[in-house]
Amino acid sequence: MTNYKYILNRLTLIMITLFAVTVSASIAQDSTKAAGGNSAGIEEGKQLFTSKCQACHSGDMKSNSIGPALGGIEAQWDDKGKLHEWIRNNIALTASGYPKAVEVSKLTPVVMTPFEDLTDAQIDNILAYIDAKFTGKLDQPAPAAGAAKPATSESQNNWIFAIVTLVLALIAITLMFVNRRLKRLANDVEGIPTVEPLPFFRNKVYLATIGIILFTVSGYYFSKAMINMNRQIHYEPLQPIFYSHKVHAGINQINCLYCHGNAWESKTAAIPSVNVCMNCHKTIQKYNGEQLTDASGAMVDGTAEIQKLFKYAGFDPQNPNNWDESKAKPIEWVKIHNLPDHVYFNHSQHVRVGNVQCQTCHGEVTAMNEVTQFAELSMGWCVNCHRQTAVNFNKDAGSGNQFYSIYEKFHNDIKSGKMDSVTVKDIGGIECQKCHY
């Protein structure tokens, strides 16, 4: 009996030691992360940049888009306060005659949208993100640790902790055996008969411990798998043509809405018909860009893929003027983003009214050759965004969705006696789609 107690005691000790080591390891990691350059601020800056700036300014900070490249912007402005002013209201700053503002305003034909509701802290976060992205800090596996500490990457830390844990565990086990041996010697001396210990596979304590660990681990993966059923995150099907969004929307800067224009107008984002492809590919018959590779790393011949398009379109590159558009066959693209049938999702409501960037839900499509599902499209994911997103009513500035202005009008009309009640019809109740969608 005493033997059991000893083993139990030792086991508890080992468990506690292991637990303490793991916890301290994770705490240590968290603290290095926090020290490594305010990652929460950069994360906020990234979100703000994606929602407010990236529509015009390129996300890689190096190439010019509608707006100029933003890499190294802080170094270009001597006065940081003036840069903040420019971001909030560049029109006013240009009008004030500040020389740098006048110079920048001539860079592009499009006037930058004023963002008057941004706070100083938010602008600083955006600038921090731009700097981090431009200098490539974000692409490293871990943010560089503080100046006092030598820069160690997270994976290195993990290795150190693993080795320390292993060594401690070995010491604990050795001590346990030494302890048992000594106990037996002491018993022999005192003449107490020693009970031969059970082999480990019949030792109930071992079996129970292993059972609990297995149950917890397999339970974790089991419930995770059950929750993720029918969520198709990372789904990346083979398409009939190797169409690279990176080449079209990224390198060649074709606007998402050029092909998916219905995202602005209707529920579905529109898969372009063959004639939209042919708008450009009537002329572009060869692919001359950098070598394309598919998900498995195999080389893809861009020109051969364009030939596949011509087959669908019934277009003969040798004889372009005799092309009969009406003979074209649709390309059966594989749909990637599937919502369950019982969910109603409307693109125009998000893209046009909500002013949500395509990338918010679809990820950096401009960097994907073959599109993969970026978001999990789960209810929690939707609801989370709906909880956090501020609605831009902003009807005075003319940039908001102005939807609720009609309610304000009704409110005033009832107050002044112009109306006695608001019927369902007044708030869109006889629109066909309210019932028949």
Binding site: G211, Y221, F222, I233, H234, Y235, T268
Partner: protein
């Protein structure tokens, strides 16, 4: 006994992890009839319709119909031929009589659909052409050229609707009112240079 139970749990767990999506596999769903629509979804194949004898379905609006929100009281009368092109110059922009054309919206449409070739500056040097270095080899028209400034609104509309030379038809991407809005936008941009050109022309004529 216990061992078999444990091994069974691990295998079952592993199998379920395999139900997630990835690469070419969309994964499994709990109730496929609730996840995948039984009714026709947008872009669903229409083979079944054709098998049922509905062979006239081609996804195009019936000829001569006008969309409800396209309330211009306007139907473009000409066909895609040289005669239509020649006659198109007589067609007036129906937005001429409309005060406050939303030029901001027109600019948005221009940037998305036209700017990629014709350039944000309307100089015929968009990112796809890029001074001849881009993938698009045909030089897009420079809208600031004198001959485009002289081009009638109706002819521009004809070109957008049916396409011209290397340019394809934008009828599937732009509604009639949007095409007219874009023409308005191009005119407003040309305006500044046009007045200057007209001034020099009139002095030359004298």
């Amino acid at each position: 006994m216990k061992k078999y139970f444990l091994i069974g749990t691990i295998i079952a767990g592993g199998l379920l992890v395999g139900c997630g999506a990835g690469n070419n596999n969309p994964g499994y769903s709990y109730m496929p009839d609730m996840a995948y629509s039984v009714a026709y979804e947008t872009y669903a194949p229409t083979d079944a319709l054709q098998k049922a004898g509905v062979s006239s379905y081609n996804g195009l609006p019936v000829e001569g119909t006008v969309a409800q929100d396209d309330d211009l009281g306007f139907v473009y009368p000409y066909k895609n031929d040289s005669l239509g092109y020649a006659l198109s110059k007589n067609v007036k922009n129906p937005l001429d009589t409309v005060a406050n054309v939303d030029l901001k919206e027109a600019e948005r449409l221009y940037e998305i659909n036209c700017g990629i070739c014709h350039g944000s500056k309307l100089d015929g040097n968009g990112p796809l052409f890029n001074g001849g270095n881009g993938p698009y080899t045909a030089a897009p028209k420079n809208f600031m050229d004198k001959d485009v400034i002289a081009l009638a609104d109706g002819t521009m509309y004809h070109s957008i609707t049916y396409g011209i030379r290397a340019m394809g038809s934008y009828a599937s991407q732009l509604k009639p009112i949007q095409r007219w809005e874009i023409i308005k936008f191009i005119r407003s941009k040309q305006g500044k240079t046009a007045t200057a050109a007209a001034a020099s022309d009139s002095t030359a004529a004298k």
